[in-house]
Amino acid sequence: MLEQLLIFTRGGLILWTCGNALKGSPIDALIRSCLLEERSAETFFSYDAPAGGAAYNLKWAFHNDLGLVFVAVYQRILHLLYVDDLLAAVRREFSQIYDPKRTAYDEFDEIFRQLQKEAEARAEEMRKSKQSNRAPLMAGKKQGAGAGQRAGSQGNAKQKGGKGSSGKDDGDGELGKGRGLSNGQENGTKEHSRAPSVVVKGKENGAPVSGAFDVNKLQKLRPKGGKKTDTGTGKASKAEPKKIVKKNRVWDDSPSDSKLDFTDPADEKGDEVVDFGKADHGESMMDKEEIVNSESESEEDEEVESTKPGTKKKGWFSSMFQSIAGNAVLDKADLKPALKALKDRLMTKNVAEEIAEKLCESVAASLEGKKLGSFTRVSSTVQTAMEEALLRILTPKRSIDILRDVHAAKEQGKPYVVVFVGVNGVGKSTNLAKVAYWLLQHDISVMMAACDTFRSGAVEQLRTHARRLQIPIFEKGYEKDPAIVAREAILEASRNNSDVVLVDTAGRMQDNEPLMRALSKLINLNNPDLVLFVGEALVGNDAVDQLSKFNQKLADLSTVPNARLIDGILLTKFDTIDDKVGAALSMVYISGAPVMFVGCGQSYTDLKKLNVKSIVKTLLK
């Protein structure tokens, strides 16, 4: 039984409603997280009322010409099959009696009751006739219901595949090996002799985290690793007596330079001892005004992009007639070629394929049935709708004013904690230093926490940055539990009155189960103010997988009911892509988190804000 059926205008006025009162506010949640986010092509939306209320499923239908939305709400445990049917029938009947001036439609109660009876009867008939086929159908619906989260059903299939591969990893029993292998793939220059020692270290790190591996296997590996390093050093010592000091080659008669070795002098520990003056590279690009080319974009819309002659020409001619006459009603067949062209254009700009597909379907859903204005072509209507949709998606949902948040936390007397997460090699440590530089320029005291206790050189890297920026760094070396290191860092920060703590974590692949569990533990234990996902702008379809899996793992493995998900995105390596800016769109669409920073270079000042209008313009060029 339906809980409620609502009819409302796009402007927000409820025209007609029937049914019981709903717990929570499912309609507002539907509008905010689904319809306004251009996910209107999905089949349904599930809502859980807070504080243990009921669990609802919502389905909707649009009437784009009149600007009406029809929403049906029912309990999730009931699998009602007639809802789509009923919504279509209601839409048909209501559009006949609709009048923009009227706001009360009491006579619709009768019509609705009739329609509901008819729809239920039809569903009963279908059920009786399909008795044998019902079991697989229900199973299909269950799977669909399970997958009907924000990521969509494709994300579910990928997750299953991901689980399978991580299962394989566990099956090997070599957690560290799996990690070492993935690292080896990233850094192809890793020497072979170092790999086993990496495995050993990884295992030792893995032990306090999961505790679910074989101690015997570790003991077996340790002598193996030791042996290999012995042979490695043995080889090196043999090579030493044969060393001859090389002389510098002189190319022409100019005197040779005295010093060609630019490495900094090392002290006994092997650490570099450098005296850096405080790095002052000028103003961070976050604070610079961007000179935007703000000429009107309407000229570009007028260009006709017809590629195929023949059938296209005939279509163009008749569409010209219709556009002048001005009463064409858009239907799916009309929209298909324009949307296909748009989808191809988006994909050439490096937008992930399934995101482009979903966006195009959503725009089609919002344009179907609409009347074309006079003197407008189908392609220009579609272009305008897509532009509006993109602008809406990329505009941040919540405030991205970090300085204001930092001031608020300062008033409360506790440090503002930012955690940088992401896969391997995207630029977390580099951009962490850039963010630290920007915050320093606004007179905020920053502290770094080196919670990448896995990758060799990570702590030294951060130490160098800290020395150049002259800010304190909290580090505990390698092979420590990152969650504990982070907690101690935050305590240290509140002791020495640092305003912001920037926590660097190790890069990890999204389907590496133990590492994601470790990350989830870090976030749950320390409850940071901002979880920043660092993603590179060069990524293509993998962005969707990365973000959806990160969010899913953070949600699944959290201990509290309100899981902390990714709050913001930091887009890096933006200077390497010319106009293939689609990764920004994919990431924002799939996670719903705004892009807070954009890294566009490797020096401290190369950090800027995302300019939504210019990105939309570039995407649709």
Binding site: G12, I14, T17, R32, L36, T103, I393, S399, L403
Partner: protein
């Protein structure tokens, strides 16, 4: 030269040709058309814009003003509501009644750019604040208000602003003095955090208030007044007064 004069004399003395009549007729008609258009075009814009956070009660207020009743309730708006109407109380007055063009802009943060379409033509802005659920949304409301107060189109045209504390029919609603003080405090904080940047932020084109002093609404270049209202019960007399004052008859 004389030949020319002779030719012109001859031409003038000729009986006028049909084409001449037609040309004259077209000219007269066009002139008449344009003069009628100019008469019919409204001389000054009478647009009032309703803005505020999502859930503050703008759409309810809009329908209360338009139709004197909030109908069956509202949901989050996806598109702006526009209406041209004469205020109901005005219908009793005799004389020339000027219709008011009221625009209700959605408050959802992703739909904020729509506000920029309507602000340049606005004769007045009504900023609706939820006085029931005020404290959790105080910062967001203050940020929105700050953005509006520093927009070039608002400052240059000195558009008057009315801050309406909505939902005052409930017992636990805050008073307008409390809300005013909280908003001023929040905007003061925003001023320091935004103006710490040396070159201007793209969105905020003007600075607000007097540096060194705490911010008050009287320091704004636009005239800011505060009122209380309740969209559901219909106590919107102060809002109507504002509209009447700023839409010239």
């Amino acid at each position: 030269m004389e030949q020319w004069m002779h030719q012109i004399e001859q031409w003038v003395r000729q009986p006028p040709v049909e084409q001449l009549y037609a040309a004259l007729a077209v000219l007269v008609v066009t002139l008449a058309f344009f003069s009628i258009l100019r008469l019919l075009k409204p001389s000054k814009s009478a647009t009032i814009v309703l803005a505020g956070l999502s859930g503050s009660g703008k759409t309810t207020l809009f329908f209360q003003l338009c139709d004197d009743s909030p109908h069956q309730g509202t949901v989050t708006s996806m598109d702006p509501n526009e209406g041209t109407f004469v205020l109901h109380s005005e219908l009793e007055k005799k004389g020339k009644l000027k219709p008011v063009h009221l625009v209700d802009v959605p408050g959802h943060s992703q739909l904020r750019p729509k506000l920029d379409e309507f602000l340049p033509h606005a004769a007045g802005l009504i900023f609706v604040v939820d006085s029931l659920d005020f404290l959790p949304n105080c910062r967001a409301a203050a940020e929105y208000l700050y953005d509006i107060l520093t927009k070039a189109s608002m400052v240059k045209r000195k558009t008057p602003i009315l801050i309406v504390c909505n939902k005052t029919d409930r017992m636990t609603a805050h008073s307008k003095e409390f809300i005013k003080k909280q908003l001023e405090k929040e905007i003061d904080e925003l001023r320091t955090s935004r103006n710490a940047i040396s070159s201007a932020d793209i969105a905020n084109e003007y600075t607000l208030g007097v540096p060194g002093e705490a911010f008050t609404f009287s320091q704004c270049r636009n005239k800011v007044t505060i009122a209380e209202a309740s969209g559901l019960t219909g106590e919107i007399s102060q809002v109507k007064q504002f509209i009447r004052d700023h839409v010239e008859p």
